[in-house]
Assembly symmetry: C2
Homo-oligomer: 429 residues x 2
């Protein structure tokens, strides 16, 4: 097999006049009886390749190179301003590795059709670029936590306990018994915090919600952390540093991919901690001044989060939501009675990116909330043990990986932030 | 709050005579009416702390510091050969942050009981050390793949298609329909390979097997990779380099944890690529010579894998298993008819650590195997599309993360390689 180079590497001044070999797929093709023009793609980029009819044998092979056929192409690199990526490959050798049947995806296809053939649509430049950025995002999350001496760990996906309320749980048949798909690692991470102290995970979470919004998936990846002896300001500091770090890394490593997606890397570079911090009450005041009346005690909806963002145009922390609409493990703020020691980090266009809180240490207070919500306390007994045996103050948050990718890539729908999205009406391929 | 330091940091010559503050839990305590001895633990280590009865107020607090209470302790560091970790803390200040009720775990508890209170048993030195090594293992897997320019990606946990045969799938109720928990990312990764070329994941996989062996979990973490234009020798090279890299990283970063677990870091350092490579046929010959007759065409069982390892005492590749006992996507080796282009990497004590293969490109051959196995071909149509539209030679493997942790830590049972194990009879806490 000839030594081939990445297309991105081929697109270089230093290769002009030289013969290179690339491996890829036919992204586009057109031609006449004199020329065949191809755009060849690989993971790194695209290049225009031209085959002239003078070489009859080569031209005949070229006529067989249908769209999405896999090919190995050799030729001379020529600078050409008209070529989409600035250089052109004058083909001297062409091998079809796998000839493609007529590719089913063309320009006029519907979103539904593209989801039906997602296994082929993942080859699109758009999705390839998103997935490369997604890899940087996930890698940067790992790096941030590890640089800060967090220990990575994994907790069960199959769980007997609900964390965020039982109504939106997927049921699994476990050798005749019922277990649920996890919604958050939190209950387990709190138990592990007495061993590992500063810990994080990146793992799938599941919500059987009937939401049909552009920002909900039933299966998504969740970056979660938990830290002992941590208060709300310190927790938010971790949150804003993490988001800043990811943005800087993507801006640095994925300039080309961002540009191909129509995003400006310079804008991403501006995302730097600290982020503004307002209370839920202050958020309501801002909304009210702009004609959007939200009753105190109602959670903020996407609509309202988006309106709020118009006044910041960068991530903003909203703290101290009303205690009574918060999950049982979020404690009351002693300095702001009636509100919880919690935050949401809201980002433009997407809404909630991170949710975090201090964790309540008061078992009686938690039991009261759970009882009021009709929960079965017996399934939480093991969790309450974490308070009975050497409790320490602790706090943690969870970040939706796809929402971060969606925001950074400027996607309209969260489904494009993950290779094979799962939504209420999409479970295949 | 006083500035505290990690116990491991406190255990140092340079702190002798100095006053330090540590935060941790009471790991052990004993005493008389003259002294109270504590062993305090945190994530980094343990230290002996002594409280003398002269300071009546302090002694009274010390008497309240039950096992597993969380404490903040200040005092002077003194070198003491009799102390388990070489230094002793002469306590001058002691704060009980959370007083523990009588801790339910004592020495004489059964394995079953320890699994019942796993949420507390995770605090044991053994498990803390294992989880710290596990974090290094997972981090090193990420590093190895990223250094080699693999793109990290994630594929669905909820899937309509079986990958390794339908009998051992967990069923999930998906808004009234049935989907399954994934057993491998492979079918999806092959579709993504036409976009991302070199890709990997670390994600949970599920097997609803009724195995009650010390090396099976129903939920485990799976490091999987897929690469285009890759043949079997190159694939094995990735496998042995990956395992070597992880072993070197653990030996370098977790010397203390390995020693506490009774493992010799020097032995781990010896694990270096390349590993020996034998065929399945050669493996049978070795077994036969040692009185273990395996009929050609039978898969190797744990028993046999262990016997085999006695002749190597390090990881060994077994290649070219009989084609007819292999999964449908493993192609026949044209140079060794009747055998598949595949390998298992076997490690001492644990058995199969990695399974990998070249992927068949011949749709008709794959359909025949699936039909013979009684599978519904229609659920595989999308997968066959990957061959119809620009197929390229490709290969990949999957590594069981818990098996690697089990082997490195010298664990007797795989359940201790993961914080909250799931087995046929263990689904809580």
């Amino acid at each position: 097999m000839k030594k081939s180079i990445a297309i991105k590497e081929a697109l270089s001044e230093k290769n002009v006049g030289k013969t290179v070999s690339i491996r890829g797929w036919v992204h586009r093709e057109r031609g006449s009886n004199k020329f065949k023009f191809f755009v060849i793609r690989d993971v790194s980029g695209t290049i225009q390749a031209i085959v002239k009819s003078e070489d009859k044998k080569l031209f005949k092979i070229a006529e067989d190179a249908t769209r999405e056929s896999s090919v190995i192409v050799s030729g001379k690199i020529r600078k050409d301003k008209r070529a989409p990526t600035g250089y052109e490959l004058q083909v001297t050798d062409l091998e079809i590795v796998g000839k493609a049947e007529t590719f089913p995806i063309s320009r006029d296809k519907s979103e539904e059709f593209l989801l039906d053939v997602r296994h082929l649509w993942v080859r699109s430049r758009k999705l390839t670029n998103v997935f490369k950025i997604r890899s940087t995002v996930v890698g940067a999350i790992h790096e941030y936590f590890r640089k800060n001496e967090f220990i990575e760990t994994q907790v069960p996906i199959l769980t007997p306990t609900a964390c965020e309320g039982g109504s939106s749980l997927f049921k699994v048949d476990y050798f005749g018994d019922t277990v649920y798909l996890t919604q958050s690692w939190q209950l387990y991470s709190e138990a592990l915090a007495a061993s590992l102290e500063k810990l994080y995970t990146i793992a799938p979470s599941f919500r059987a919600e009937k939401s049909r919004t552009p920002r909900h998936l039933t299966e998504y990846w969740h970056a979660e952390m938990e830290v002992i002896y941590c208060d709300l300001p310190q927790l938010m500091k971790y949150g804003e540093e993490l988001v800043s770090y990811v943005c800087q890394e993507v801006a640095r490593k994925n300039t080309d991919e961002l540009k191909e997606l129509g995003q400006d890397p310079r804008e991403l570079k501006k995302i730097k901690a600290p982020f503004p911090k307002i209370t839920y009450k202050e958020a309501l005041d801002i909304l009210a001044k702009n004609g959007m009346k939200v009753k105190y005690g109602k959670d903020l909806r996407t609509l309202e989060e988006r309106e709020l963002m118009k006044h910041f145009e960068r991530p903003v922390f909203v703290t101290n939501y009303p205690k009574e609409i918060m999950a049982f493990y979020k404690p009351e703020d002693p300095e702001n009675p009636g509100t919880a020691l919690c935050f949401d980090l809201i980002v433009p266009e997407v809404g909630e990116l991170i949710g975090g809180s201090v964790r309540d240490l008061d078992v009686d207070a938690m039991k009261k909330v759970l009882t009021d919500e009709g929960e079965d306390l017996s399934t939480y007994e093991w969790y309450f043990d974490t308070r009975k045996y050497g409790a320490v103050p602790h706090a943690g948050f969870g970040l939706g990986v796809e929402r971060l990718v969606m925001w950074i890539c400027g996607l309209e729908h969260i489904r494009d932030a993950i290779p094979f999205p799962r939504t209420i009406n999409r479970k295949a391929p």
